[in-house]
């Protein structure tokens, strides 16, 4: 069964709740109340917004390139949504069986630039074009640390398939890789077998503790890839109005918004899969308390499906919260700061950690 | 499975179209695009052959190297195009006809 029938409604629900959540989180961080009027505690605010956006007129500027202008938002969304076709949802329900899962996801992230440039160019507006060019420069620059940080994980997991990576971080690893043994911190020399202990101990961040720093690099780079604050230069509202989306209104603008939140969700799920145990439970088996088995569920069973989906979704929501928290904490960086963070700090460190992960992998066998 | 002739025919068509683009177009970037198309047409053949039973992965390696070298070629080519544009104020290949720079 294709995961699309899960991800399309899930994405819509996530967007509706994320818009509401973002407003509430920003409000609480700034000691405000946020939306309060529509529904109990303003819970229907984003639905009201959605209705408003759908009713709005679909305006195409006179000087714009009409065909590209109309196609661009849909292209952006389609490209982002294509990335979801590979993600696993539960332990036995995953997307397309692609050996090159992560590689394809990284390609998706870089494809997104095409849609943004198309939107910016077709608007025939200085701000839109500037925003699009900035966005392209930023996404291409941050692809390097992003890819390198993902590569650090790949070196440890020895596979590009997302579902295999997920299985490796739990107690069911022998279902896909028979006879493989998980040691504490991944080190054979310590000799503590945790294959049947699982839980948080078998997550990638614990298997190779330095992966936490790699995750920091991944997280920063993914923020830049999503064009989110503090790297939201392409849509810096104080200088560029709204960047490449300046000329869009109504339904098409909401599609762009949907794609933006979709991208957030995509990189959040990717981060969880790569570093934080995917759909695996955080509780390990302790002696006769088989917490990992009770809270994880055997793959293939109903409880296994429900529990693993629960863990994946809750971890992803935590990641999205983290993105929002970061957004409402830091001011926007300058374009030269952005480039120097990307090239001078993140890239060398990602390379260093890649080397470290290679050495760690040698210790694992 | 899809017969390999189809890949070859398609690749022949794309190659011919790429050649047509390279010959007809005046704009340097258009010409670059035609070249990319021709490189891709060749790649299709390499990859199509490499799926055979004997596991001729050489075709895939070749395609991989072609893709990467095409990236290098495009980077340098576009840099040259930009330089030409800043000097001649045009990238129309018919009007870029002085050798002395």
């Amino acid at each position: 069964m294709s995961t699309i029938i899960f991800f399309l409604p899930y994405l819509l629900i996530v967007v509706i709740f994320a818009v509401y959540g973002e407003r509430k989180i920003s409000a609480f961080i700034q000691d405000r109340l946020g939306p309060m009027e529509v529904g109990y505690y303003g819970i229907l605010q984003s639905i009201a917004d959605l209705l408003k956006l759908i009713q709005k007129e679909d305006i195409v500027p006179k000087a714009a390139d009409k065909k590209l202008f109309l196609v661009a938002p849909i292209l952006i969304f389609v490209i982002v949504f294509a990335g979801f076709s590979l993600l696993p949802v539960t332990s036995s329900w995953h997307g397309a069986t692609a050996e090159t899962g992560i590689f394809f996801l990284l390609a998706i992230v870089s494809l997104d630039v095409i849609g943004i440039i198309m939107a910016g160019w077709a608007s025939n507006n200085k701000y839109a074009l500037l925003g699009a060019v900035r966005s392209a420069a930023q996404i291409i620059a941050y692809e390097v640390p992003l890819t390198l940080s993902v590569l650090c994980v790949i070196v440890l997991t020895q596979t590009l398939d997302l579902q295999t990576i997920s299985y490796q971080q739990g107690i069911w690893v022998n279902q896909v890789e028979p006879d493989s043994v998980n040691y504490l911190f991944g080190l054979m020399s310590i000799g503590i077998d945790i294959t049947n202990v699982g839980g948080i101990l078998s997550w990638n961040v614990v298997r190779m503790p330095f992966l936490f720093l790699v995750w920091v690099i991944f997280f920063i780079a993914s923020l830049a890839e999503c064009n989110r604050a503090p790297f939201d230069l392409p849509e810096a509202e104080s200088e560029l109005v709204a960047g490449f989306q300046t000329e869009y209104s109504g339904f098409r603008w909401s599609i762009i918004m949907l794609a933006e939140y979709g991208m957030m969700l995509l990189v959040s799920i990717l981060g969880v899969i790569l570093f934080y145990g995917s759909w695996n439970t955080p509780f390990p088996n302790i002696g006769s308390f088989k917490l990992a088995e009770w809270t994880g569920g055997l793959p293939g069973t109903t409880s296994g499906n429900i529990l693993s989906a629960f863990w994946l979704i809750s971890k992803t929501s935590l990641m999205i919260f983290l993105q929002m928290w970061v957004r409402w904490t830091f001011p926007r960086v300058r374009i030269d700061q952005l480039m120097s963070i990307g090239w001078k700090y993140l890239t060398p460190f990602a390379l260093f950690f890649l080397l470290l992960c290679g050495v760690w992998r040698l210790l694992m066998i | 499975m899809i017969p390999i002739e189809l890949y070859f025919n398609l690749s022949a068509f794309l190659f011919a179209v790429g050649l047509g683009i390279v010959i007809t177009r005046k704009n340097a970037i258009f010409v670059l695009m035609g070249i990319e198309l021709m490189l891709n047409a060749a790649n299709i053949n390499f990859v199509a052959v490499s799926q055979s039973e004997s596991g001729l992965l050489e075709g895939q390696f070749f395609a991989l190297f072609v893709i990467v070298i095409a990236a290098a070629e495009a980077a340098v080519g576009l840099a040259i195009v930009l330089k030409v544009y800043s000097y001649f104020k045009t990238i129309d290949l018919d009007r870029v006809n002085e050798l002395k720079g």
Binding site: - | A12, V49, I67
Partner: protein
């Protein structure tokens, strides 16, 4: 015909149509986006021929890299307002004659090949590619890396604003 074959024909036709569009369109930016479609279709064809890794590389490097470069090149050398994005063509007869000749020649040559020995197989070859790059093809791989680095530096040096070719 089975599903896969129909899909192959659709994608192949899409590739041909978009390639033809590049040939006939006047708007260079439309041509660039049509090239995106062609390259994506070719990536799909790679997946049909059991070359997933090459397909993703195609998307990543060609569509995500080269096309973006080309679009930047177009943006820096053309303006949407003053019709510079529209480009004429010349040598039409010569082009038609030579491409048609090449096409006919290729098709006739392809017709003579005996393809029966090339029986397609399915199965993973990702690990083989990885091992191949690190063993048999290590030298070309490293040379490619050096070439990319040289091209990168060269492109920056050429396109930089400084006169007199310092750097």
């Amino acid at each position: 015909m089975e599903m896969l074959e129909i899909l192959f024909y659709i994608i192949g036709a899409l590739a041909c149509i978009s390639a033809g569009f590049i040939l006939f369109t006047k708007n260079i930016l439309y041509a660039a986006f049509a090239l995106v479609v062609t390259l994506l279709c070719i990536a799909a064809l790679y997946i049909f021929s059991n070359a997933e890794f090459i397909a993703v590389s195609q998307i990543m490097i060609y569509v995500g890299g080269i096309i973006v470069l080309i679009i930047f090149g177009i943006m820096l050398t053309a303006k949407i307002r003053d019709e510079k994005a529209l480009v004429g063509s010349h040598n039409r007869f010569l082009a038609f004659a030579s491409s048609a000749a090449i096409f006919v020649m290729l098709i006739s040559v392809i017709g003579t090949i005996n393809f029966t020995q090339y029986q397609a197989v399915t199965g993973s070859n990702l690990h083989k590619i990885g091992e191949g790059i690190m063993t048999d093809y290590l030298l070309p791989f490293e040379l490619m890396a050096v070439l990319l680095l040289v091209a990168l530096i060269g492109a920056t040096a050429i396109a930089s604003k400084k006169e007199g070719g310092t750097s």
